[in-house]
Amino acid sequence: MTAMNRAAARNRKIRVLMAKVGLDGHDVGARVVARGLLDAGMEVIYTGLRRTTEEIVRAAIEEDVDWVGISILSGAHGTLLPKVRRMLDEQGASDIRIIAGGVIPQEDIPELEAQGVSRVFLSGTAIAEIVDYLVRETPDA
């Protein structure tokens, strides 16, 4: 069974909040991934541009998502991604995990992972690879 089929066959659909944080205005990548996850049978909510970390954390908890996918191309990932992780943990939402994509230098990835970002997908990643990862890593409800 392909990842796409497995995603569709789950008891509870995987829920993902796709988010843009800070002033970064490039959201094509976020929208393409959002479409891809939707096509794979997941439930996807998109925050729209220019959200604060507070707004993202609130939306993630209210929407009861499994994942927050943050797309960031502004170079502010080192500050903003760990901040979202910390705020989720502080609000008792440690089960909500974070994936990230956009323009993130390879050399920054170990530090982001140490700070609790589950996985960084660099540009050029096939959508199927992201779907596969989420299906594999989301506990079946």
Binding site: V32, R35, G36, Q106
Partner: protein
């Protein structure tokens, strides 16, 4: 049809009428279309959707009704297909340009001096996101963003430092993007000249100042589209009266194409935006002959070399006909579409040095297509703002294109090619169809308000992603010849103290400026905005008084409201 000189196209005169039939015969007997189809036939469809034939002949020119005098004419003459100026690159080479900015003005000034030292003729300042979005460096939204994607500019004091030792008239053009803060960046450059004691007619400022595409493509929008376009038009109008040698608006295809629309639909949307801005200025009683020469276009095509050439040539033809036939322009400068381009290819994260080849080929298409102002992306732009080395290589690549290989020896070298003329006509048709569709929709603002623009872009981006995922669009090191071994990718970072220096300078300027003068100037900006007057004179006075970018934009936020981004995808 009028095709001269005939023998240029027709090697066997007595079979001239049968070229189409001969081409079909050749294809069936010799070329083997079956094998062609079994090969990577799908990759012979361009990003804009035009399929490419194995061979183009005079029969194609006949099919498109090619007419030399009507369709091409001569460089610098209507319809400007072969070039916006008579001598083009042969007598007046394209302007070697750099888009640069990071950190604070102090750090950035050092980079500018180095770029000029090695031959940069035009610098467009990359602003950081807080500046572009109208937030001062001490605003909460600026956290972690100061100096990241460009240099932080809060007040005129930053501009003075940024151009310290660089007189405004020492290079061909200076400028910036400032799409959502057009009158403010215009005022900053006007006040810079005053500070340096250089009259406005002795230097040239180029601005992007194209807010409409931000709403669908680039994302620095602040206000709703209509007031944003009004402010952009204010900047253009001020230049008509005070600095007609400046180019205060560059209408962009670039971001719309990159975001997924494709270069033909991107051009259609951009030209519809041109029409919106032009109509605003004509409604103020300005003449098209005064307005059009101040506008530039920023075409873009990164996937297909020959489509890129066709796009530039087709764009010039459409612009000329639009200005003459729709708007009644009479001056050649109003009908000649000047173009700024930024050379890209499909840059990859993997093995970044390969991007030098990609961007060079992408830029060569623009040079052969006759672009006037040429920038070239740094090989590391897929991962960060360019480091000093990549900025230098980008400049050197432009110098190679301008000086070696003979690329600029003759004007419009690809003109007359069966292939390129056919593509030019096909691309032109796509653009005109797109413009007609947008017209039916209600014009430029409807592209934003109906969600049409976003939809076109998302669908295009999804299509591109599928083409990459499936391998239909080959991409070296990404879906073909995967990189072995892993080549590390490192990002340029400005010094960590830039943000601290910027915050300290902003605090010092605020403490030392004449608070009364600032308050009076800001009150006048508010009045001009409320009374629907041109805000530029009031903004210039506020900038001279060291009002901050954020203080001026806050007035507009209160007056016009803010744009609420869509959550559709």
């Amino acid at each position: 049809m009028n095709m001269k000189p005939r023998d240029m196209f027709v090697p066997v005169p007595d079979e001239a009428g049968d070229i189409g039939a001969q081409a079909e015969r050749w294809k069936a007997q010799r070329f083997d279309p079956q094998a062609d189809a079994e090969r990577e036939a799908s990759s012979f469809v361009t990003d804009v959707g035009i399929p490419i034939k194995p061979l183009y002949t005079p029969a194609d020119l006949e099919r498109i009704g090619f007419d030399y005098l009507k369709d091409l004419g001569f460089p610098g003459e209507y319809p400007f297909t072969r070039g916006d100026r008579p001598g083009m690159n042969r007598s007046d080479p394209f302007v070697i340009s750099a888009y640069s900015g990071f950190g604070d003005a102090e750090a950035c000034n050092k980079r500018f001096r180095k770029l000029i030292d090695i031959g940069t003729e035009q610098i467009l300042v990359a602003l950081d996101l807080p500046t572009q979005c109208g937030y001062d460096s001490d605003h909460e939204m600026a956290t972690a963003e100061i100096g990241n994607v460009g240099v932080a500019i809060d007040t005129l004091a930053d501009m003075e430092l940024l151009f310290d030792g660089i007189p405004a008239d020492s290079i061909k053009r200076i400028g910036t993007l400032g799409n959502s803060i057009g009158p403010i960046v215009l005022a900053l450059y006007a006040a810079l000249g005053e500070k340096q004691g250089i009259a406005w007619d002795r230097y040239t400022v180029n601005l992007q100042n194209d807010p409409l595409k931000e709403y669908i493509a680039r994302g620095t929008q602040i206000l709703p589209p209509a007031p944003a376009a009004k402010l952009a038009a204010d900047a253009v109008e001020w230049c008509i009266d005070n600095a007609p040698n400046w180019s205060p608006m560059t209408v962009c295809v670039n971001h719309i194409n990159a975001g997924g629309a494709g270069s033909s639909m991107g051009t259609a949307i951009a030209l519809s935006n041109v029409r919106y801005y032009v109509d605003l200025l004509l409604a103020r009683g300005r003449s098209i002959d005064d307005v059009a020469p101040l506008l530039h276009m920023f075409p873009d095509e990164r996937h297909d070399f020959f489509i890129s050439v066709a796009n530039l040539r087709g764009l010039r033809r459409i612009w000329a006909r639009m200005m003459k036939e729709t708007y009644g322009a009479t001056k050649a400068e109003a009908m000649a579409c000047r173009t700024t381009v930024y050379g890209h290819g499909q840059e990859a994260l993997a093995e970044p040095l390969n991007n030098i080849a990609r961007t060079a080929f992408g830029t060569l298409a623009y040079v052969l297509g006759g672009a006037s102002y040429v920038y070239l992306a740094g090989y590391d732009e897929a991962v960060s703002t360019p480091n000093e080395n990549s900025a230098r290589v980008a400049l050197r690549t432009l110098q190679v294109l301008a000086n070696e290989h003979g690329f600029r020896d003759t004007i419009d070298p690809l003109g007359g090619s069966y292939y390129v003329e056919t593509l030019t006509a096909e691309v032109e048709r796509q653009i005109l169809d797109g413009m007609a569709e947008i017209e039916r929709l209600g014009g430029a603002l409807a592209v934003i308000s109906t969600g049409y623009g976003r939809r076109v872009m998302t669908e295009g981006a999804v299509r591109r992603q599928r083409a990459i995922d499936s391998g239909v669009r080959p991409w070296v090191t990404v879906n073909k010849y995967p990189q072995k071994p892993d080549v590390p990718n490192s990002a340029f970072r400005g010094d960590k103290q830039a943000a601290e220096r910027q915050l300290a300078r902003l605090a010092r300027v605020k403490a030392e400026r004449d608070a009364k003068r600032v308050a009076a100037a800001l009150a006048e900006v508010d009045r001009a905005s409320a009374e629907n007057r041109n805000v530029t004179p009031a903004v210039l006075e506020a900038v001279r008084a060291y009002a901050t970018v954020g203080e001026i934009v806050d007035i507009w936020r209160r007056r016009f409201g803010t744009f609420v981004p869509s959550t559709d995808f």
